[in-house]
Structure formats: C-alpha cells, structure tokens
Amino acid sequence: MKIVVCIKQVPGSNRVSFDPITHNLVREGMAGRMNPFDENAIEAAVRLREQVGGEVVLLSMGPDATKETLHDGMAMGADSAYLLSSRAFAGSDTLATGYILAQAIRKIGAIDLILFGRQAVDADTGQVGPIVATELDLPQATFAEKIQPLDAQHVVVNRDLGAVTQTVQLTLPAVITVRAEANQPRYESPVAIQQSLTKPLTTWTDQDLTLDASRIGQAGSPTIVRKVYAPEPTTRAAKPLPQDPKEAAKALLDILQAQGLL
C-alpha cells in the first residue's frame, strides 16, 4: 500500500501575544514543530505498512525550515519525504493549499491512501483534507479513530462524529483524516533519527508541478484574514452577592426566581 501523509509545520506554541505598538501577532517559541494530529496520521500510516507492506511518503508545503519536521516524520518511520517550497505558494489559504497538495500527489502517483491530521492546531480549519479529496475526486472518511485494512482495494474506518459514530468501507484510493484517539504516536529512537537523515527528501518548487497560476498563493486564495486580535474578555456587571453564605444563597435563588429560572 502506497500511503501519502500530508503534514504541516505549526508554531512551537499556541501562546501568542500582541505587540502593543504595531498590534502584530508575536508568537512565543518561534521554532516550528509538527502539527500534533499529523503525528497520529503518520503513526496510522506506519502501522498500516507494518500490517500489509508498502511505503509511507510524507508531503508538506512550507518554508525551507519545514525540512526538520519532515525529518522528524521520517524518524517516526516514514520512508521518504517531499517538500513543496516556493515564494509562489505564499499566502495560500485552504483552497490554494489543497489544490497545490493535490497536484503534488498526482505527480507522486500510484497512491492508495492519503492521510491527514484532523486539523492543524494553528488555523484550526480541518479543511485541507476534504479539499484534496475533492480535487482528486476521491471518497473520504474524516475524524477517523480506527483504520483497518480489508484487502488490496478496501479499508474499513471508524469515524467519531461527536453525536454519532460510523463504520464505513472505503474503496482505495481514498482520503482519511485522523483523530488523536486513533493511536499513540511512537517515540523516535536514536537509531531511527540516525536513519532518517539518510532517507530521501525531495524539494519541489512551483516549477516542478503542473499548476494553474490563478489557483495558487494569494491569487488562488479567496479568503482574506483582515484582522487578528486578542479576544475581548466579555465583561459583565459582576454584582456581588451578600457576604454571608446563607444570605448569598437566598439572594441567588431570588435572582433565579425573578428571572423565571426556578
């Protein structure tokens, strides 16, 4: 089974602050790391390869520093990696990102399964997986908590959709997005880290892919993030109840009574 796992490098920390003068976003812990859900996707892919054979190929679009994250992924057991890096990709929203990844997957070729994390923890959209599936006209199972190979053409996936759970049988090739509950990603052993340095990592620019220029980067991105700000804590009246607990409890029940809540 030839599996592509799409991974995203995200900021090292979600703790962000704002420059009081420029109002720009200041990210603490600037060093990037792998999107945590993508570790679950890699783990799922490596386990499938252990069960049925095949290969696990990583794919990421991002700046040159993303190579580190790709090496981490190879240390987790992936066999090879592709980095898509070009100024022409800058400013891509989910639609442009999904299109570019899909074109790269076409070029890699002969893929049985494409795995994604359920969402990236920075922008938090979870849209890229279904967009890639649609670009390639493939079936999908999002929010997977279990993936079982059935035969050369099929996998069975358990989806947890919050209010309902589903078991679906997908005909390959197919797209799956993976929940954290799916598995416990393995630690990278020193040997595995050593080996990852000799695994093939290929960089492709926009010149290496067949791309419609109107569908990539800013031109291909219909959404604009026009403002980023710290959430206003909603402030309310904070009227104090009487100090004595018995009186406070009585006052509280009176308020509920007055508002028709008893």
Binding site: N14, D124, A163, T165, T171, Y229, K239, L256
Partner: protein, 320 residues
C-alpha cells in the same frame, strides 16, 4: 421559484432529529439578513423528513431534496448534491454548522465552487454585501476576522451552541427539487450508532452548574448534584475535573469540550481561563463563586460571590 442571492443554511440531521445548530443558525440568520431571503436547504429520505421542524424557526424558504440515496449518504454524495443546487440557484452566502459532519462537507462544496470558506466561526455579520466571519485560532487564543471579497457564494461554518434558537412565526415556502447525486459505491456505510451520552449532554441544557478545581471535593460534588437535581440543572466541569472517574470529556465545557449557551450557568471554583470562557460566554445569566475576588471569571459574570464554594453549596442545599 427559489430566490437567488439568498442566505442559505445547510440543514443537518443529528440522529433522528434536526441538529440544534441548524435551528440556531436559522434564528441568527434571520436577525442579520437585512431583507435578504433566508433559506434552509435539506437533503432527506422519505423515511426521515425535517421540513416540519425547520418551518418552526422562520426561514423564508425550505429547499428539500428527498431521495433514498441520502440514506447514509457519503460526504461526496451530499457535497455533490449541494454543489448542484448552489450552482443552479446562486445563493450569496452559505452557512454550515461546524459539527464534524458540517466541517467534512463544507470544504468539499467549497472546492467544487472554488470559493472561500471560514471555519468554525463564533460570530458573523454583514458589511453591505460582505460577510464578516469572526473565528478563533491558535487554540482560541486569538480571534480573526475573515472575509471573501471577490468570490461568491461566501461560506462559513459556525460553532454549535454559539447562538440560541428561537421559534418564529411566518409561513415558509417549501421548494421541492429533484435529487441528482448518485450513491457513492466507494464509501459504504456499514454501521452507524447514536452516542447516547452526547445527546443527553450539556449542549442543550438550559441550566448548568459547572465545577472547577476549586470545587474538586467529593462532598461538594455530591452536594452540587443534589442542588442540580432540585433546580433541574445539568452538571458540567472545567478540564481538570475530567481527570476524575465520575466525569468525562463529554461534560467538559470549553474549547476542547462542548460549547454551551444556557439561560443560567453557575460556576463554582473555576478561574475562567480563555479556553473555558469561550465555551460559555454566550450564557444568558452567569453567576460565579470563587474565593479569589480577582479570578478572571469574576468580570465575566453578572453576579459573583467571593468565598468557599463548599459553603455556598451547603447553604443552597439547606434552602432547597
């Protein structure tokens, strides 16, 4: 005739009923429509219909495609049907519930239409024709405003329980359309089950008593359960309490738990971290108890009591 340039809500079933978020979105859409037609669009089967419920929440139109093929339909089948309807009727705006299902369908539709989609919004409004969608990012630590100026339709998914649903009068016009999408042989549903816990859970509760680390004592929790029983309230928790065997993630309020918007929430021993606050900030009446008068939760509350949560719970038990 289906009205062009309308504001569409994509209706969703949750188990056997229309998902609460669909009704919440209808109410909110009516409030901001400013003369624009509000339509609900529903894919249903002959065995399970939803237009009766939708009509009670005041859409101008309900667009119904009924077909056996929508029984356990794949994301691809549903997205193809929605895309066909959208291409034929050119709505201005399309909103989905940001449920796992909505978040799986919406980007498939987005890609087929090559337009913009903002994920998991907490608010949205129009500036003339432009939909401004307000969404949290970086684990709810940041808010951003996202717009789609040049392409239509403009699309967003909206977090459940951010707005209250209200029934409305007025007759909805029902437009029945032919289903055109075929069943998907590459994605076959083998089994589906409704999770009981999720449907009896907090998200629809009208009254909630929420417990935090400052109320993490067996005796207090027992007292709270009794008070909750008397008040007809559900019990929720902040994240630290999900480590206890008697609470699960399904009772957790907040960013990585459920969002609630009850008429009343009584917070006991909760500090009010931003990840907690986003899960309950649209509650109508917020009362908080904390022994620290400067805890962030206090300024997020209509009424506050500074003191030991155990003492207040005991006093409430005595009175009820």
């Amino acid at each position: 005739m289906i009205t062009k340039d309308a504001l569409w809500i994509v209706a969703e079933f949750e188990g056997t009923r229309i998902a609460p978020v669909t009704l919440q979105l209808l109410t909110k859409a009516r409030a901001i429509a400013n003369g624009r037609t509000v339509a609900a669009v529903l894919l249903e089967t002959p065995a399970q219909t939803g237009e009766e419920t939708l009509a009670q929440y005041g859409p101008d139109e309900i667009i119904v495609a009924q077909d056996e093929a929508f029984q356990n339909a794949s994301d691809r089948t549903q997205a193809e049907q929605l895309t066909a309807l959208i291409k034929a009727n050119q709505p201005n705006t399309i909103l989905f519930g940001a449920t796992p299902e909505g978040r799986s369908l919406a980007p498939r539709v987005q890609d087929q239409l090559e337009t913009g989609l903002t994920a998991d919004c907490l608010d949205f409004y129009y500036e003339q024709d432009l939909l401004v969608a307000v969404k949290p990012s970086y684990g709810d630590n940041v808010m951003c405003e996202i717009v789609c100026p040049d392409r239509r339709p403009q699309m967003a998914s909206v977090r459940p329980n951010t707005f209250a649903a209200k029934k409305a009068t007025g007759a909805a016009r029902i437009e029945r359309v032919d289903a055109t999408a075929a069943a998907d042989s590459a994605c076959v549903m083998q089994k589906t089950a409704v999770k009981i816990a999720a449907t009896t859970s907090l998200s629809g509760a009208r009254k909630i008593i929420a417990l935090g680390r400052g109320a993490n004592k067996d005796a207090v929790i027992e007292g709270v359960r009794k008070v909750a029983d008397k008040l007809g309230a559900s019990v929720g928790v902040s994240r630290p309490l999900t480590d206890r065997p008697d609470f699960t993630a399904e009772q957790q309020i907040g960013q990585s738990g459920v969002t609630v918007s009850p008429d009343l929430i009584l917070n006991l021993g909760i500090s009010g971290a931003v990840q907690y606050q986003v899960g309950m900030s649209s509650s109508k009446l917020v009362i908080s108890v904390n022994r620290d008068s400067k805890a962030p939760i206090m300024v997020q509350s209509d009424y506050v009591w500074t003191g030991d949560a155990a003492a207040l719970v005991a006093a409430l038990q005595d009175l009820l």
